[in-house]
Amino acid sequence: MLALVSPALLVILALIVLPVGWLAWQSIYHDGFTLENYLRVFTEDIYWRSFALTFEISFAVTVIALLLGYPVAYLANSVPKGCSILILSLVVLPFWTSVLVRAYAWLALLQRTGVINQFLRYLDVISEPLALVHNTLGTVVATVHILLPFMVLPLYATMQKIPSDLMQAGASLGASPSLTFFRVFLPLSLPGVLAGCTMVFVLCLGFYITPELLGGGRTVMVSMLVSRNVELYNQFGAASAVAVVLLLSVLAIFFMVSRFIPLDRVLGQK
């Protein structure tokens, strides 16, 4: 049996375990052991700001995705089967469109001469084009778009398991629909909320393509810090330290969440 897993395992060991180990090693060893790289990450302003910005954006994206995703999942759960399949297909459709393609689409929609600005000017709502892209706003809009399915699917999966008898029981005991929602349905859907939020937050922490293309160079997320240190400045030690801190953040989040819900429930949606 071990012989059967060994080809796959070898590929994983050689191409993810070894490289990540190499990064960790490189972050503390350069002609002798050094903590200089980590000192820089934690003290230099640009690193610190980038980490703060990344966590802020990830937090904002998670909250927005939850606010947008919850109603959709709720609706899909409460309509007849045929309708819910339609709603879920619309959610999953963009999922299977390349992230690059969607970045291009958002550029086409949001830029100064883009569809949305042209439309608003045509309606005479605005006289000057709005700066919708090449900033944090553009990054957030496109990132939420990419991550929303990761929110809706676990929410829907959890809501489906909530027995509808419970809501009827609440109603028969005289509770209003809103009261049964807040006292019965919402608490029971929290595992799905946690699974969705974790996935969205963690994926957002490592986002690269969207901030690079839609952020306009000013929204420097951690992943861009890693790539710039490698590609532009040849600062391999610094890049490795940033990567290690990012990875540890991700693992810490997964670890904390795994104490509340099983991890395969979080990862199963991807």
Binding site: M1, L2, L4, V5, A8, L9, V11, I12, L15, I16, V17, L18, P19, V20, L68, G69, P71, V72, Y74, L75, S78, I87, L90, V91, L93, P94, W96, T97, S98, L100, V101, R102, A103, Y104, A105, A108, L109, T113, G114, Q118, H145, L148, P177, S178, L205, G206, Y208, E212, L213, V226, S227, F236, S240, A243, L246, L247, V250, F254, L267, G268
Partner: protein, 261 residues
Amino acid sequence: MIRLSPARIALYMISALVLVYLILPVLIIAPISFSSARFLTFPPPSFSTRWYQQYFGNPAWMQATRVTLTVALSTVVIATPFGVAAAYAISQSKLRIMRFIHMALLLPLVVPIIITAVGIFFVYARVGLVATMPGLVLANVMLGLPYVVISVLAGLQSFDAAQEMVARSLGMNRLRSFFAVTLPQIKSSVVAGGIFAFISAMDETIVALFISGGQYQPLTKRMFTALRDEIDPTIAAISTLMTAASFMLVLLASARQRRNS
């Protein structure tokens, strides 16, 4: 049963807006790709296939397309048997270490892709695999493995392992019984896993940005560079073709999976 309370109407409206937000970017690409305008104008002034001609007439784009298709196909050919063997072993073996191996095989989904990309770049730089075809394929095999493993494990869960036991008690060896009894029954999830690995390799961008170069640059890397420099409607044409291809493959995969369950 469903009453139209104000809360219900609000729910419909919010959901409709969210669905428009999800779908609009997917729908906007095709009209742009068939527009004659050099810049993004909407609605398009007139119908034209010039961006498709630019794509098919440009040797650099064609070379990148060949690289992408070669990488994606090679990835499927390697990742599928590796993944099937691993999933079979995980589902059959009672060894404790298998749980860890199972988790290890899902690592590509957990580690942020930018970290994987930079890490592979450092390792490849040491062994001379940067800007080579084998290097590109190997990286995509690693990234595609989890999809095969997840899909095949799901298929094996609904398969009754006793059938293979029967075949073996009738004198088949393990290998023959697997190919004669088990594989035909989990074929759908194997095919679905392979298709997901193909799509994953076709779409992969970030690792390619770091480790590919020279004549072995996939489509996504060239698209990324082009998008960073200027917005060229040729990319809309390529995007439309890519989107159509992924949708067809996903439909195929989900039809397969449905037949399986």
